[in-house]
Assembly symmetry: C2
Homo-oligomer: 437 residues x 2
């Protein structure tokens, strides 16, 4: 495909106008001010359109779309114990499959090309993402809490099969990561064994870190160390790691994250909605720590509108850390694109650069919300609407364009999501009756 | 028009399905579960659609769309003195007209049917709003700062003409309010005279209150009173008042606002983006003070996406006041609709109720972002996208539907906005050159 006379955001996150971009196979083959001689097939008229690298959602639990708006306005423990955990305990493979496909449909609609995704029944997630045409780093979250043993040590070793079976699926669009769910949902031995396994198998790591003050303080009380120091002592950061949240990190935590090359995936909307706090993104950026942006699950967001997430990422820090100059639009777009791609170990993604993968999105910039144009990148971060995305392409293949999904039967997905949800709610209802009886 | 088999949010902010709603002239004439016998003309198929009261933007400076994204990432005083004030000083009537029309186009696109608007050169705002078909309470902001006398005492008295000329324009769609810009931009005598005038003329009042900690503390130092107490002592609240921001109000301020029936217009995105803070909406609601939602100007937002504003209104409070149960979706929708309408003195607006004005919006609720439906109002607040609005109607007249503006020539508006902006930037540039020379 050849994009003609289109405005782009280039690999340096600078705006250029009237550019030609040629896509050959899954790769960006040409970027230039003049029309290339080579024939790239289909042509796309770039008038009033912005072409840029697609967004990377650096922390998600895709199947939880099924819990969108389920159990709202509750305190965290009530919400988890009375709503989320009982619902999740009833999830079957096909529920996870349909929930993930719904997440992919919404993600693609909002310009997300790749997701760092942590859940369980992961083979169903793999199938859904492969079908959708999107990319994902998928991990089974390892826990060994007593009481709620969703994930046992046995499942932990099954992970090896997951890697053999699924890593590289969908022509490399799927990567399998290791995942320790969190410090507080596992013991030191499990954390260490998983760290060793990940390192030996060459897998990236995905872990929740210091999301709430309670979790952070409890860890200090229990181990005499912050979660970051504890996880580091277990070897978790010896493999490239995405640490989700990091709202309450302090002191030497910043040094450890920096030294170990950990990416912090900030989830501003979820953190605000659950009253968890606001990640100190300005300090992370100042220290040169890689920062990416995540939506967290739809159960605590409750959307995958990534432009909304990017805007919130910037303004939440400005408010919390009392500095209107903190987190510039360029920093926000970097975090939303290449910041996420490198956290996934996809060094040839997340950038509009020759030789990189053609994971691209097109936005309609003709609307009243995008004028006047004093600075297009500022307009993109603060004034654009999620649904200004009009095309999403992954590995050179169009997945969504102008209201139409190319790989997903959206009516069928919504039908099955509603069916899964209804079945689980019915099961929960009859269980309640039994208990009452 | 007859909406058929449509899902609605009714006047109690409850969801009802398969409803018939008949609009006769400018009024909601029928709401029922059965098809009315009366012929309402054009029929609208409600399948997959949500009908509700349109949004009321309770605090805005519409002409400042011209400054969207102009002067970003700056500290507040730098931003105001080096960017905003010099730009504004060059605004002419036609700039204000085109800027307001652009704001109306964006507002209508996002389901805003009425705006409480404070600026100057107000006759141009009136003309633009009347043309657009939307509603607005328009006020000229009175200041008498030394140094930057945009608004003089002479203009203050001209207000009487504004009222005579414009109040009730556009078949009552325009209301003229009085406005004291703020405590810190006027003296006690001006505040008192304006309060007396507003009361005698029967005008609502629009005023900025305790937006920043600096302003709040300076007032206490200067007058030994908080801004709320000071404004009350001047009689400002003796007329129905919309107090914008109220981020730093404290102690007895809450009692005064409650006793005087003042509406607080909270502007969460602007307040976060400028590092001003987060209004204590949970406490205001707890005390029974009317709360509405505003976008503030596009220069500090930078959009008029009202669904985004509503979501931020809820989650900003949850984070700041450490309570995930604070500000329910129903409270947020109330604030976004009737909370705003009553602050404008439009008691027959902001509700989907028989006999009320047909200021209605329709949302497409078929998208992946709106499924599954555990609770539609929760989905509306947290999962909907601004551009899910597919129709906006004011006084029974469709202003926007499915990508098409019925009253606004959007290409012409954008052309003229860019032209105005370019002229002002050129003037600023040549001034700079002169200074350098």
């Amino acid at each position: 495909m050849l994009f003609k006379n289109i405005t782009i955001i280039d690999e340096k996150i600078q705006v250029k106008e009237n550019i030609y971009v040629g896509v050959e196979g899954d790769t960006i083959d040409y970027i230039g001010e003049t029309e290339p001689e080579k024939d790239y097939g289909q042509q796309y008229d770039g008038k009033g359109r912005l072409l840029m690298a697609g967004f990377v959602n650096a922390h998600a639990h895709s199947p939880m779309t099924l819990l969108r708006g389920y159990g709202e306005n509750m305190a965290l423990q009530d919400w988890l114990n009375k709503k989320i955990f009982p619902f999740e305990a009833r999830l079957q493979g096909e529920d996870v499959y349909w929930g993930t496909l719904l997440a992919m449909a919404e993600s693609i609609r909002y310009g997300i090309v790749s997701t760092t995704d942590m859940y369980y029944l992961t083979e169903n997630m793999v199938n859904a993402v492969v079908e959708s045409g999107a990319k994902a780093n998928i991990s089974r979250a390892i826990t060994n809490m007593t009481g709620r043993d969703l994930f046992t040590m046995e499942e932990f070793y099954e992970e090896k099969n997951a890697v053999e079976l699924f890593d590289g699926a969908g022509d490399g669009r799927i990567k399998i990561d290791a995942s320790l769910h969190a410090e507080y949902t596992s013991d030191p031995d499990t954390a260490m064994k998983l760290a060793q396994y990940a390192k030996q198998a060459g897998l990236n790591m995905h872990v929740h870190v210091s999301e709430t003050a309670f979790e952070h303080e409890e860890c200090k009380r229990k181990y005499g160390m912050t979660p970051v120091a504890y996880l580091n002592s277990r070897g978790i950061f010896d493999t490239p790691t995405t640490a989700a949240h990091c709202v309450w990190i302090e002191g030497e935590d910043f040094d450890i994250l920096k030294e170990k090359g950990v990416t912090v995936a900030s989830n501003p909307i979820s953190n605000m909605k659950l009253s968890s706090g606001v990640c100190n993104v300005p300090k992370l950026l100042e220290q040169g720590i890689n920062v990416a942006i995540g939506t967290d699950s739809v159960a605590s967001n409750n959307s995958l509108d990534f432009i909304e997430e990017i805007k919130t990422f910037a303004i939440a820090s400005k408010e919390k850390y009392k500095d209107p100059t903190a987190v510039t639009p360029v920093q926000a777009i970097y975090a939303a694109t290449f910041g996420g791609a490198r956290s996934q170990g996809r060094w040839d993604c997340g950038k509009l650069e020759t030789g990189c993968k053609a994971d691209l999105i097109v936005l309609d910039i003709t609307g009243p919300n995008m004028h006047p144009v004093h600075d297009l990148i500022t307009n993109l971060v603060y004034s654009a609407c999620g649904k200004d995305v009009v095309m999403t392409m992954v590995d050179g293949k169009i997945l969504y364009q102008d209201g139409e999904y190319k790989t997903i039967d959206i009516e069928k997905v919504i039908y099955n999501v509603e069916r899964s949800t209804a079945r689980i709610l019915k099961e929960l209802d009859s269980n309640e009756l039994v208990t009452r009886g």
